[in-house]
């Protein structure tokens, strides 16, 4: 997995994991979310447009990241979610707390 980070404002961030989000990559992503939130970017959008596959470890990193962001008074939201990732979110009912948004802008605009 390759991970790109963009910091549009001092309190927001976009993370773009590319490739397969499985066990090893999940640790990298979780560490990146923790660091981003610790730096004051409390509102994190994870852009999954180029994430090919998400397994349970990947989902664990996203939910763990959501907890960290919320604990800091912010939020973690998903954008550009593909079919496989959507299946995992729906199966586990996690789409109720990690709502998929169509675009990154939509994710930032959501309440």
């Amino acid at each position: 997995m390759n991970l790109e980070r963009e910091l549009p404002t001092p309190t927001t961030a976009v993370l773009r994991p590319r490739g397969r989000l499985t066990m090893a990559a999940a640790t990298t992503l979780k560490t990146a979310i923790d660091g981003t939130v610790a730096d004051g970017h409390h509102l994190v959008v994870v852009d999954l447009g180029e994430t090919e596959f998400l397994d349970s470890s990947g989902l664990g990193a996203l939910v763990g990241g959501l907890r960290v962001a919320r604990a800091a008074g912010g939020d973690l939201r998903l954008a550009r979610v593909g079919t496989q990732v959507r299946t995992v979110l729906e199966l586990t009912t996690m789409d109720r707390v990690l709502t998929p948004h169509v675009t990154v802008d939509d994710a930032f605009a959501a309440g």
Binding site: S56, G60, Q84, T87, L91, T93, M94
Partner: protein, 372 residues
């Protein structure tokens, strides 16, 4: 480990040794009563040799290992068949290998057909490579034991319930995994069935799976399925959070007198209800995975099994073997068409795993059928 197939993790060490010391042969041998088994080798072209007269027999007894610059000058080996005959060894260096308990099991050796020097630095290098091989041997041993313990935590026999058939199977992708299934008959005569899948795979997930099983077992004896899940979640919360993990589970309770199955599904969502009439439906989760609740209260749901109906729950490893999407469940339903009962259904799913060249995730299946 004797007579096991070649493995890359050992092969790479002997390839490296052969290149580093520029010798014709390097190998890992395991010493048996009267023979040497070559677990990895380059330049030998065989998997075993007689132990009598071998250098390895001496090396395995020696704490420091040995270096023989010219075997024809060494009284221990000058008459050895390995020196006087093929492969006509002259130079030989070997290090003993200890297994998990510290007992010696074999050697890492290099040889040449002409005499040569071997510096202290080269001896140290060979010793380092031997420690590497030992580490691989220990990992293997620990994983094998862990796999045995985990297998012993699965139910050994099915509960006998008049009018119903129950079956389950678990095929870990590695020696151990994070999936399990379980069942028990509780004091009021009901049968409680569980299929759970811990995030990730391998040893870390297996440790958590053992804890989840124990907690669910004790919380299920008197409570309803949703109360049992809620209790288990409370007990496991801090452990799951510390490990950054979560668990999906189907937890169900069959009342054999009414054929009603009361269930709670914690973010699992991979349970099929196959009706005798031929149609099927997926039982949707009744809540989030354990360790992922954001203040939700656990709720349950009910289905009644008519004669010939079957409930079948699988882990997501089954989904990955098909196309990974929910459409897989329709494919799975096709695989189960005409299944004679719970055992036949479980066997059909396990059979799918046998046809996979590479199975990245654990595969677990649990079936409950009402006789027709």
């Amino acid at each position: 480990m004797l007579d096991t197939p070649r493995e890359e993790r050992f092969d790479r060490v002997v390839r490296l040794a052969q290149q580093l010391f520029d010798v014709p042969a390097a190998f890992v041998s395991l010493v048996d009563t009267d023979r040497l088994f070559y677990k990895a080798e380059v330049g030998l072209g065989k998997t075993e040799a007689p132990r009598a007269g071998s250098f390895c027999t001496v090396v395995v007894e020696d704490d420091e290992g040995i270096v023989v610059r010219d075997a024809t000058d060494d009284p221990r080996f000058a008459a050895s068949p390995y020196v006087t005959d093929d492969p006509n060894i002259r130079f030989y260096a070997g290090q003993p290998l200890a297994a998990a308990g510290g007992h010696r099991v074999g050697t890492l050796c290099v040889y040449d057909t002409k005499p040569r020097e071997f510096s202290d630095a080269e001896s140290r290098l060979l010793r380092d490579l031997a420690r590497w091989v030992e580490k691989e041997l220990v990992v293997e041993d620990e994983l094998r034991r862990a796999g045995e313990v985990q297998a012993s935590l699965l139910p050994r026999s099915e509960p006998r319930v008049d009018g119903f058939e129950i079956a389950g199977a678990c095929v870990p992708a590695q020696q151990v995994g994070g999936d399990f299934y379980d069942w028990q008959t509780v004091p009021d005569g009901a049968v409680v069935l569980t299929l759970a899948d811990v995030m990730g795979k391998g040893m870390g997930s297996a440790i958590i799976a053992a804890t989840v099983r124990a907690v669910l077992r004790s919380s299920s004896r008197r409570a309803t399925v949703e109360e049992a899940l809620a209790d288990a979640e409370l007990a496991l919360e801090s452990d799951l959070s510390a490990a950054g993990s979560f668990v999906t589970a189907l937890h169900a309770r069959l009342d054999p007198t009414t054929a009603v199955v009361h269930y709670a599904d914690a973010g699992h969502g991979l349970t099929l209800l196959r009706r005798a009439a031929g149609d099927h439906e997926r039982l949707a989760p009744t809540g989030p995975p354990l360790g992922m609740a954001f203040g939700d209260e656990r709720v349950g749901a009910e289905v009644t099994l008519a004669p010939g109906d079957m409930l079948l729950s699988v882990s997501d490893g089954v989904l990955d073997m098909l196309d990974g999407s929910l459409d897989s469940l329709a494919v799975l339903d096709g695989v189960l068409a005409g299944a004679a009962g719970a055992h036949d259904a479980v066997e059909r799913v396990v059979d799918l795993t046998r046809r996979q060249a590479r199975r990245p995730d654990d595969v677990t299946v649990l079936a409950l059928a009402r006789e027709g």
